[in-house]
Structures are given as C-alpha cells and as structure tokens.
C-alpha cells in the first residue's frame, strides 16, 4: 500500500471519527451554563464514540473479508455521511435556548489550588504510566497473548485470528480490530500503537469522568472525582499493561454519563443523547463479554428510572438507546454465531495454563504457576448445578470482594470509601432518576460478574485471583460517578435534602 493512499485513508479516518464522535456529540448535547464543561465533555467523550464507530467499520469489513484500505475507506465515507446527516437532524431539532441559560454560580468555578492538584495528579499518573511501560514494554499476559496477538493476525488478514486454539478466542473483536486499523494506517504491526491506545483510553476515561461529573455536579466535584480515579493504583497499572479493561471502563463510564444527562433533563431534545449512550453501551458489548452485563444493566436502569419517575416522554429515549446499540449488537451476534468458538466459560477448556494479574506475585515463577493451574485443571469441574449450589463458592467470592476493599496497595482508600458511601442515605435529592438508573446498572453488572464466578468451570480461586481487580476496574469510573451524584448537590442549589 502506497504512502499516499495511507495518508488519504488517515485523513478520511480523522474526518470520520471526528464527525461521528465529537461532531455528533456536540450536536446532541443540550447547552450547559458552563461552556467549558460542555466543550470538555465533547473533547473527551466524543473520541470514545467516534473511535468505537470507526472500529466497528473495521469489524464489519473483517467479517466480510474486505479488510483492505480501499474497502475501509468506503466504509468510513459511509459512516461519515451518516454522521453528517445525524448532525444536521440534531441541529434542526435543537431549539435556540442557549441565551436563556442562567449564569453560572461563582461556586461552580474550579479553584486554582484544585486545578493545581489536578494537574499534579495528571502529570504524576503520566509518569507512572511511562515507568510501567518501560518495565513491561510489551504489556502483560492478556496484551501479547490475546489483544495484540489477535490485532496482528487481523492486520495481516490471517484466517487464524479467531482460531479455537487461541486463548479466549470468543472475546469480541472490537479492540484488536481498532489496533489493526491504526496499524494499517501506520503501515506496520507496531508495538507502540497498543501502548498509545492504553494511554489514550486512560486519558479519555479520566477526562470523561472530570467533565461528566462537572456537568452534573460542578467542576470542583468533577476535579475531585478525576483526582481520585488517577490516584487509584490499579487504573494506571492496567492502562500500561495494555489490557482492554481500561478502554471498557471508559465505554461504561461514557454510556453512564450520557444516560445521566439524558435522565436529568426534561426536554425531548435529549433523545439523541440516549442514542449515543446506546452506541457506547453497544460498543462495550463488542469490546469484551462483560460489556453485555453492563448493557443489560443500563437498559434495565433506564426502564426502571423512566417508569418510576412516570415520565412518558422519556420512553423515546429508551427506544433511542436500543437503536443506538443495535448496529454493535448485530455485529456481536454475527461474531458469536458465525465466527467465535464456544467460550471457555461453557466448555471448561483451559483458557491459559498460567495467567498473570496484578495480584500474582512477581517473584512466583512461571513454572510454579503453571503447576498450580495444571493441578487445578487436572480435576474435572463439578456439574453446573453442583457449582451453583455450593455455598462455599458464594463465600469465597464474597471474601475475595471484601479482600479487595482493604487492598489499599491496589485501590487506595477509595474502593472501601466508595462502597461504604453506597450504604448511606444520599446527601441530595437531585437527579434521582439518573442515580437510580446507574445504581441498577451497577447492581446488574455486579450480579452478572458474581454469577459468572459461580458458574465458572475453572478453578475458582485461580479465576478470581486473575480477574477480580479488572472486573472492579471496569466499573470503577461508574462507581465514582454514582458516588459523586449521591454525595454532592448541584452548585448553587444547596437545599436541604428531602425524602430520597
């Protein structure tokens, strides 16, 4: 492929991701008293939407065996045209209400000390990321044995990309395809691209949390939430490990922020926001299997919030949420039915002989770990019914969760504090619908993860130790968002909380 062609494809990709991400979001978002907050949300959340859709074009092309630059450029052009139509429709439907917005209260502005702390936390986190990347230049296990390995097979157009013999071959294809798409533009299967993707996902996640919370509860609370996220050790570690969990956390958070914005307002024009939330929640299902739990949770949360609040005009938003997710769900269905081998969660086949997680001791030799897993795998797993009815498994999972709450070396003080805050009465009665929806989404997601652990045919201890931190990390951004919504009043509206 010539350099000129790649340059052209890169330009088209930028236009496509820009139009379908920040462009659509800018057209869909309602106005906000603080223009900077609105702009910031578009800058950080917009690329999440654009890159998801741009990656999905690559997935579709790969499914059709048309993963070549010219074919991808046609797909991009189609997506850009559809996004342009969407932007025009959103702009046409939006009434000119900007002039009627109330001026922001003085307390809504970010103080200089808080801004300094935020900048310090950002710089420190970037340094942690770079150090980690230097210590693990190819990332950790899942990076070179799943995500980046598959990206290389897709990049080379190999038919072996989803061979049943590969670890977790049933994992959805969005993330490796996204990496492969960038590789096609770069012209090589670069080791830098996955690292840059990890860094970008972390930055987008932190930025989305800052501006999402700032939109709903003011910049001070937004900055504090972002500082807490950056100060959680697991977050930067996993971003530098080049795993797909930080990108997934970013999609979970983005979808949740948009659902909260949709439910917080009463105008029908917020329906496009719900559609974009659906795009992100759908993209999460196409990124990792866990995304399905969050999608179902968010959907159930929206239904419950709209039904309980008795706001019939919002049902259109629920439908728009599903419509937004539909293309991604369609791609996921094709992948699961026609391409992916059965999941190791169903077959019981060894996903890995050794798997490494941040919990694994770095001094433990690979041989020892191999032996542990081999011993675990040498005994046939009990039947599904026996696994589900074994109370010891419930206890083991609960203990593992409790253990993570006190692991301040991994989760700082924040996980325990955040979970504890959920057991207290909210300190505000604002945004009840959005809080309800996010709480239900988190509950359904957690229940799904719990059920997956109960049903796993693998050795339970091994399975928990190699995944629980990442499962919590996926929900961490949404947990911080929900905690912010529960604990803080909107600036300038300091009424005492009524019944909640």
């Amino acid at each position: 492929m010539t350099g000129g062609m790649r340059l052209l494809a890169s330009g088209l990709s930028l236009v496509t991701a820009g139009l379908s991400g920040p462009g659509l979001l800018a057209a869909a978002l309602p106005p906000h008293p603080l223009a900077g907050v609105r702009r910031g949300l578009i800058i950080f959340l917009g690329p999440c939407i654009g890159l998801s859709l741009w990656g999905a074009v690559g997935v579709a092309a790969f499914f059709m065996h048309r993963a070549t630059l010219p074919a991808l450029m046609i797909g991009d052009a189609l997506l850009a045209a559809m996004a342009a139509v969407g932007i025009l429709l959103c702009r046409k439907a939006r009434p000119p209400v900007e002039a009627l917005l109330p001026p922001p209260a003085p307390s809504e502005h970010l103080s200089n000390p808080m801004l300094c702390v935020l900048l310090l936390a950002t710089a420190g986190s970037a340094a942690v990321f770079l150090l980690h990347a230097r210590l693990r230049p190819d990332g950790l296990w899942d990076a070179w044995s799943i995500w980046n390995l598959r990206a290389r097979f897709i990049y080379f157009g190999s038919t072996h990309a989803f061979d049943a013999g590969f670890p977790h071959a049933d994992y959805p294809p969005l993330y490796p395809t996204l990496i492969a798409r960038i590789d096609w533009l770069v012209g090589a299967a670069s080791t830098t691209v996955p690292l840059v993707c990890g860094a970008a996902a972390a930055a987008l996640c932190a930025g989305t949390l800052f501006f999402g919370v700032a939109w709903l509860r003011g910049p001070r609370t937004g900055a504090l939430a972002a500082i807490v996220l950056l100060g959680t050790q697991e977050f930067m570690n996993h971003a530098a490990d080049q795993y797909a969990d930080v990108p997934l956390a970013c999609l979970f958070l983005g979808a949740s922020v948009l659902v909260a914005i949709f439910l917080d307002g009463s105008e029908p024009r917020r329906i496009p926001v719900a559609a974009l939330a659906g795009v992100l929640a759908g993209a999460a299902t196409l990124l990792k299997n866990e995304g399905a739990f969050h999608f179902l949770g968010l959907f159930a949360g929206m239904i419950a919030a709209v039904a309980i609040a008795a706001r019939p005009r919002k049902w259109g938003g629920v439908a728009a949420f599903i419509a937004g997710a539909l293309p991604m769900l369609l791609l996921l269905g094709i992948f699961k039915i026609a391409i992916a081998p059965p999941s190791d969660m169903i077959t019981g086949r060894e996903a890995f002989a050794i798997a490494e997680d941040a919990d694994s001791s770095p001094t433990e030799s690979a041989m020892e770990k191999n032996a542990v897993q081999r011993d675990a795998g040498s005994v046939a797993p009990p039947s599904l019914w026996k696994r589900l009815s074994d109370l010891r498994r419930y206890w083991a999972i609960l203990l593992a969760v409790l253990n993570r709450l006190i692991r301040i070396d991994r989760w700082n003080l924040f996980l325990a504090a955040c979970v504890a805050s959920f057991f207290f009465r909210p300190r505000t009665n604002q945004g009840r619908a959005s809080r309800r929806a996010l709480a239900i989404a988190l509950l359904v997601t957690s229940a799904g993860y719990f059920a997956a652990y109960l049903a796993t045919p693998h050795n339970l201890t091994w399975h928990i130790n190699t995944s629980i931190n990442r499962l919590i990390l996926q929900m961490w951004g949404v947990m911080l968002l929900l905690a912010s919504l529960r604990l803080v009043q909107k600036p300038g509206q300091n009424k005492p909380p009524g019944p909640v």
């Binding site: 420190g124 190819d138 044995s145 290389r152 080791t191 500082i227």
Partner: protein
C-alpha cells in the same frame, strides 16, 4: 452563616483534603516504586527482536512446529504465546511434525542434543536462543 452550615463546610473540606492527599500518595508511591525498579533492574527484553530473524526466514503464513526446553511449557505456556506473538501471522503448533519447526530454547547450547534426539536439522540458528529446524532428510 449558621453553625450547622459551617460544620458541614468544614466536614466537606476535611473529606476533600483526605481524598486529595490519599490520591497524591497513591500516585507518588507507585512512581517511587517504579523508579526504584528501573534503577535496580535491567529493562526486560522486548518480544519481537528475539523472533525477528526467524520471522524473516519463513515464507508467508507458514504453520510451524514448536519445540522448547522451557520446562514443560506446551501450547498454553508463556513462551509459546510470546513466540506466537513475535511470529504472527505464522501459526505455531506444538510438536515436530511439520516441515519447519521453531526451537525456542532457554539454553541455546542444548540445540545440538535436541536436534539429535528429535531427528531435526537446523535451517537457521539465532544467538538469542531460537532456531528454525526441519526434519532430517527433507529438502
């Protein structure tokens, strides 16, 4: 300003300061730990350079056999998947029943004895501990 509001504002400030302090500590400690690691330990080798010469010597999309002396690590072990990553899109399959075989060796000096034991001939040997082999008697 009423006493309760002052108290509430003070509580909020204390909570915010605690969160900020814990967050900065949560960044500073891993930073210090990482710096110590970088200063004390050699930076680990990247995967790709180890397999670069073999990759270049193999025709497009070849399926390679895989033999190793890395303990009992078969197709589910760390070094197998690292080799698979480094050699993609060539497919690795455990065993020596292929026209071309990758030997992935912890001890490069054992290549001779391994070839003798398995009836294999070296096609390309890399100092890093990897070699491309073929069955004896095959062209």
């Amino acid at each position: 300003m009423s006493t309760s509001r002052i108290k509430s504002a003070t509580e909020r400030d204390i909570a915010q300061c605690t969160l900020v302090f814990a967050a900065l500590l949560g960044i500073a400690l891993p930073l210090a730990d990482g710096l110590l690691h970088v200063l004390k330990n050699a930076v680990p080798a990247r995967i790709d350079p180890r397999y670069a010469s073999i990759r270049a010597a193999v025709p497009d999309e070849t399926t390679l056999g895989y033999v190793t002396d890395f303990g009992d690590q078969g197709p589910t072990g760390e070094y197998f998947w690292k080799a698979q990553y480094g050699l993609a899109p060539h497919l690795l399959v455990e065993g020596e029943s292929h026209r071309l075989i990758l030997a992935n060796l912890q001890h490069p000096g054992k290549l001779g004895s391994l070839c003798q034991r398995m009836g294999l001939t070296p096609v390309k040997v890399d100092r890093a501990g990897v070699a491309l082999l073929r069955p004896e008697g095959e062209p």
